[in-house]
């Protein structure tokens, strides 16, 4: 189905199911329980999961397949957002023109930046992309304030032209009247589920993005990209010009980033310059590596993981810690709180850094490899003599069947 083999089709269907059921799956705890703080099924976070999933999937097409480590992809994210907000300002709050244009504009940006940066490889490439992105950020934050509204972020004002705005048009982002921030809430015996239009819009696009990436992975083009990562010399002596391949991958991933940026503005009509900062580029690198570069599902997992930490884990403050350990004697309670305190709440960056190091050191294939190892552990327990073990030196990130 969909031009995929049975296994991939099954995989895709699972992803579709998980994506659509997210509003339910992320609310495992009833509202009144003290664990409700770990629920993540509210619109903004679910939208972020989908959007940063798209961003990371796109980044993975470049980094995971070709091995070119770009430290400047946030620039495309920003460009996408600015495009969409400008379309709000000029036309109306309908998100469609902005989203289409955000893909086109970020593709053009990526074409130019990629064309120049891809003349070099290795760290030189990384530095070139970094330089372009930092230039974009610095200018957007200051000199280009008339276009970007600088520090405050670009937003819509009542005196903007909005030429397509009718008298009854919604005054927030919508798709032909379907307002993105509207939700249906369902209360089921203490469990509260929020089905948000914006989320489902993002989710459908994310599924499409995932499907396209799956097709690319299975295509001759995808194979060529992996070939570039492993041996460019052989590539050239096999009659293949690696430059257009890498450039195509760069532009595709730039378009994904632009789309993600556009969606950010489609969910929330504001585009801040920080979106373009190099740390934002670093974040997508973290997501991809943490989840598993070169795997299909890894980047999405990584994106979800980091966004979850940023929004949920970071809210665990001392009061909550105390309530967790309240059943213990006071001395032990305080000791445990002191021990855990640096790692949660506003210290979540520290946890992230440590986790990230551990993954790079022990799990070069990211969380996906971790899951694979665990499931292999279970499988080898069941099957007595076990399946043929793979060479421990080989990193699954480059294996052809990376769908798991």
């Amino acid at each position: 189905m969909f031009g995929l083999n049975a296994k991939d089709t099954r995989f895709l269907l699972i992803v579709v199911f998980l994506t659509l059921a997210t509003p339910i799956l992320l609310q495992p705890f009833p509202e009144s329980s003290s664990l409700a703080q770990f629920n993540a099924g509210y619109p903004d976070l679910m939208q972020k999961f989908a959007i940063f999933g798209i961003f990371a999937i796109g980044f993975n097409i470049l980094f995971g397949l070709t091995g070119y480590l770009s430290f400047g992809h946030a620039a495309f994210l920003g460009v996408g957002s600015y495009t969409v907000v400008w379309m709000y300002k000029l036309l109306s709050y309908n998100i469609l023109p902005g989203l289409v244009l955000s893909i086109i504009i970020s593709a053009l940006f990526a074409l130019v930046i990629g064309f120049i940066s891809l003349r070099r490889s290795g760290i030189y490439f990384s530095i070139l992309t970094l330089a372009f992105a930092q230039m974009s950020y610095n200018l957007a934050y200051s000199v280009l304030t008339p276009i970007t509204n600088g520090e405050t972020g670009l937003q819509v004002y009542t005196n903007d032209p909005q030429v397509l705005m009718g008298a009854n048009s919604p005054t927030s982002p919508h798709l032909f009247g379907l307002v993105m921030r509207e939700s249906v809430q369902v209360d089921m015996g203490g469990w509260l589920f929020t089905f948000n239009i914006g989320y489902y819009f993002c989710a459908i696009i994310a599924i499409l993005a995932f499907y396209i990436s799956l097709r690319i992975f299975r295509s001759p083009f995808g194979m060529m990209l992996r070939a570039i990562k492993t041996n460019q010399t052989r590539m050239n002596y096999t009659g293949l010009n690696s430059r257009p391949y890498t450039l195509a991958a760069f532009v595709i991933s730039g378009m994904y980033a632009g789309l993600a940026g556009g969606l950010l503005a489609a969910m929330d009509p504001l585009a801040g310059a920080e979106r373009m900062q190099w740390t934002a580029s670093g974040e997508v690198v973290l997501m991809t590596i943490l989840g598993g570069a070169g795997t299909l599902m890894g980047p999405v997992l990584g994106a979800g993981f980091i966004k979850y930490c940023e929004n949920i884990f970071s809210k665990i403050n001392d009061g909550i810690l105390h309530s967790w350990f309240a059943f213990l004697p006071d001395g032990i309670e305080n000791f445990l709180v002191t021990l855990v305190h640096p790692f949660v709440g506003k210290g979540w960056h520290l946890t992230l850094g440590i986790l990230f190091m551990l993954v790079v050191i022990f799990l070069p294939g990211g969380l996906v490899e971790g899951f694979q190892r665990i499931s292999r552990l279970f499988r080898s327990k069941r099957v007595k003599d076990g399946p043929r073990r793979k060479d421990p030196e080989h990193h699954p990130k480059s294996a052809p069947h990376v769908a798991e």
Partner: protein, 255 residues
């Protein structure tokens, strides 16, 4: 008129004359060996043929067209494939994928945006690649990671990757360098098999006399960047100039 015509090629690196007035003609469907002591300019010559270096003067014509100024991938698309001293393969890919890539390159040219096709659906190409693997006795290793192959298998795989493109000219850069005697013999057998089963022109740069004399139809001896003699193997063996310049001092065969 040979398929490969090298005329008056000179190449200097700073003060060093790496190649001095090299003329060479490789006839179609022959195996032409280029031998010479270390530093004779063999590798420089090879690099001039594949586009990695550009000669200062002279011409290199392949199949009636100049190769000078073309990039390696363009030269490959003209019909020249190259086997490296240490096998250059796609280590992270499977054996089958390693052979698929040259098939695509042959069919689709240097670049094609085939992002929405599926490798598995390209029956014709997959069949061709499998057939090629069969031909080099590697069919059962098709799903292995290329990096985990033995050195001999890597060499074989690289050869398969070149041959599957049906090149008009196959360049081999010391294909048995560093190999044990048994592997060397296997490689010789493989090359003989190739020679016997296809219409192919080969140019071999080689140190190992055993390999050269078992395969070559003609031999060019290079010394200090200049061709010394060119002849059939039997004549070369006894040629005094060659004895003096090359064989005399490096009887140890391969290093």
């Amino acid at each position: 008129m040979g398929i490969l015509e090298v005329k008056g090629v000179n190449k200097r690196f700073g003060g060093l004359q790496a190649l001095g007035d090299v003329n060479l003609s490789v006839k179609e469907n022959t195996v032409h060996a280029i031998i010479g002591p270390n530093g004779a300019g063999k590798s420089t010559l090879l690099n001039c043929l594949v586009g990695k270096l550009i000669p200062d003067t002279g011409s290199v014509m392949f199949d009636g067209q100049s190769v000078l100024g073309r990039k390696p991938h363009e030269i490959n698309q003209m019909g020249i494939s190259r086997v490296f001293q240490t096998p250059e393969i796609f280590g992270d890919l499977t054996v089958l994928e390693n052979v698929l890539i040259p098939c695509f390159a042959k069919r689709d040219g240097a670049f094609r945006m085939h992002a929405f096709e599926t490798v598995a659906h390209e029956k014709e190409i997959v069949d061709r690649a499998l057939h090629m693997l069969d031909d080099v006795n590697m069919a059962e290793k098709r799903d292995m990671h290329a990096a985990s192959l033995s050195r001999g298998d890597k060499r074989r795989l690289e050869m398969a990757m070149c041959l599957v493109q049906e090149p008009k000219l196959l360049l081999l850069d010391e294909p048995t360098a560093g190999m044990a005697r048994a592997d060397t013999n296997n490689t010789i057998d493989l090359l003989r098999h190739i020679k016997a089963t296809r219409d192919i022109t080969m140019a071999i740069i080689e140190h190992d006399m055993h390999v050269v004399f078992s395969l070559a139809d003609r031999i060019t001896v290079l010394a200090q960047g200049t061709p010394l003699v060119e002849d059939v193997p039997e004549k070369i063996k006894g040629h005094p100039k060659v004895q003096e310049a090359y064989l005399g001092q490096s009887q140890h065969g391969h290093h």
